[in-house]
């Protein structure tokens, strides 16, 4: 039987843990609110942009701009979006599992696969398993701004043009609601006209094909401004999705942890009281026994 003192210590330790998880939950909730507002505000623009680009790539000659090309190459790159910090439940686990599965699928088809990674957690995971990582970005979620998206979008477009990869898929957590995330595999390069694994069901997609676009100012000028921008916007959207999802996941995980700590405290406290009562009863018996003996 553990001593009363060690039980007291245990209870105190659980209480401390609970305090910490509770505080983390509060912090995550506050951050969630902010990042949720950001992603909800950014979504319509990004989705419209994608719609326009899809229509556009059906209508213009795809060789008109290097970023619109469709190559028959066999080099695939996967951009894995994880978080920088842990303690957020299955957030990162789901992503790396899905990524690894996707990599195996691609390899089974005889494609060569490269990884680039956003977030410390994913980098550590794949590095430990010594997978080849082409590019990594860490610490972007501390202060997420459009600059990061320009940076990431710029690197991706540059490498697509250079031919480092022919197709790029992004694996990320989509923010569904404060307590729900969904792992999404989305094709970013080349721009596809058919529907992807992604979420937006309601993309207006008019099927009237053919008939070229009237473009103003001239096509080349417009494309060279619009297309790189599209990729920046999409990178930004994905970062925001992931950030909001991360805070949501952390909040849920910490809520669970707080509740579990509460249950443990209850259980140990009950045991402590029982033990204490037993000790008192035993002492009383001793005293009564002693008094009896003196009679």
């Amino acid at each position: 039987m553990p001593s009363l003192q060690s039980l007291r210590r245990k209870i105190a330790a659980f209480k401390n843990t609970q305090k910490i998880t509770k505080a983390m939950k509060m912090v995550a909730a506050a951050k969630l609110k902010r990042s949720q507002d950001r992603i909800l505000a950014a979504r319509p623009y990004a989705h419209k942009m994608r719609g326009v680009l899809r229509n556009l790539s059906q209508r213009v000659n795809r060789s008109a701009h290097p970023l619109l090309q469709k190559r028959a190459g066999r080099k695939v790159e996967i951009l894995v979006v994880t978080s920088d910090r842990g303690l957020c439940g299955g957030f990162n686990g789901n992503i790396v599992r899905k990524s690894a599965e996707f990599v195996r699928q691609c390899e089974a088809q005889g494609l060569s696969v490269n990884l680039s990674i956003i977030g410390r957690k994913g980098r550590d995971y794949f590095r430990r398993r010594s997978w080849a990582i082409r590019q990594e970005w860490t610490g972007v979620f501390d202060k997420l701004s459009f600059e990061h998206a320009i940076d990431i979008g710029g690197d991706l477009t540059e490498n697509f043009v250079k031919g480092t990869f022919d197709e790029l898929y992004v694996v990320y957590n989509e923010f569904k609601s404060a307590i729900q995330q969904r792992v999404i595999v989305e094709k970013l390069f080349p721009i596809d006209t058919d529907v992807e694994f992604g979420s937006d069901q309601n993309l207006p997609h008019d099927s009237v094909l053919g008939g070229s676009y009237l473009v103003e100012p001239d096509e080349g000028e417009l494309l060279s401004a619009l297309v790189p921008k599209h990729f920046q916007i999409q990178a930004y959207r994905i970062l925001l999705e992931s950030a909001a999802a991360e805070h949501g996941a952390r909040m849920a995980a910490m809520d669970g942890a707080t509740r579990n700590a509460g249950q443990l405290i209850k259980k140990v406290t009950l045991y402590y009281n029982k033990t204490r009562q037993a000790a008192i009863t035993k002492e009383l018996m001793d005293i009564v026994g002693g008094a009896e003996a003196l009679k």
């Binding site: 950014a42 623009y45 326009v52 556009l56 008019d206 009237v208 473009v215 417009l222």
Partner: protein
């Protein structure tokens, strides 16, 4: 006239407008263009200017600072860097901004500064104009 087109205006900050309208006039980079239902497919960049749309026989105004517009026979999608509805613009502040920009322009300086000042003056004047429109019952 029977037909209607869906006008959607989005900025990186939010979805500003999504409405069925009868006619749209937008500030294309090569000049204003008007869109009626059944317009052919068209894609244009936008400059600083005024976007007008007619809904239920009433013209409404909106300021647009750069962006793109995609036109299909049934829909106009405007992706603006910055956009504001006329009724959301504060006339007093717009007037102040005009004055401030004028002062900056007069103060001169490096060519890049002058250019900046010109652009902000243009922006400020546009917002002022549109705010006035809303006020004087045009809309």
């Amino acid at each position: 006239m029977a037909g209607k087109i869906l006008l959607e205006v989005v900025t990186p900050e939010k979805l500003l407008l999504s409405q069925e309208v009868e006619e749209v006039i937008a500030p294309g980079s090569e000049g204003e263009f008007g869109v009626l239902p059944g317009h052919c497919h068209f894609l244009s960049s936008l400059r600083i200017g005024e976007l007008r749309y007619k809904s239920q026989e009433v013209w409404r105004y909106m300021s647009i600072l750069w962006g793109y517009a995609e036109v299909t026979p049934t829909k106009v999608t405007v992706m603006a860097e910055v956009a504001e509805k006329a009724e959301d613009i504060d006339v007093g502040r717009a007037q102040q901004a005009v004055e401030l920009a004028e002062q900056r322009l007069l103060a001169g300086g490096l060519p890049s500064e002058v250019k900046d000042a010109q652009i902000s003056l243009e922006k400020a004047r546009l917002r002022k104009k549109i705010a006035d429109r809303a006020k004087h019952g045009h809309s």
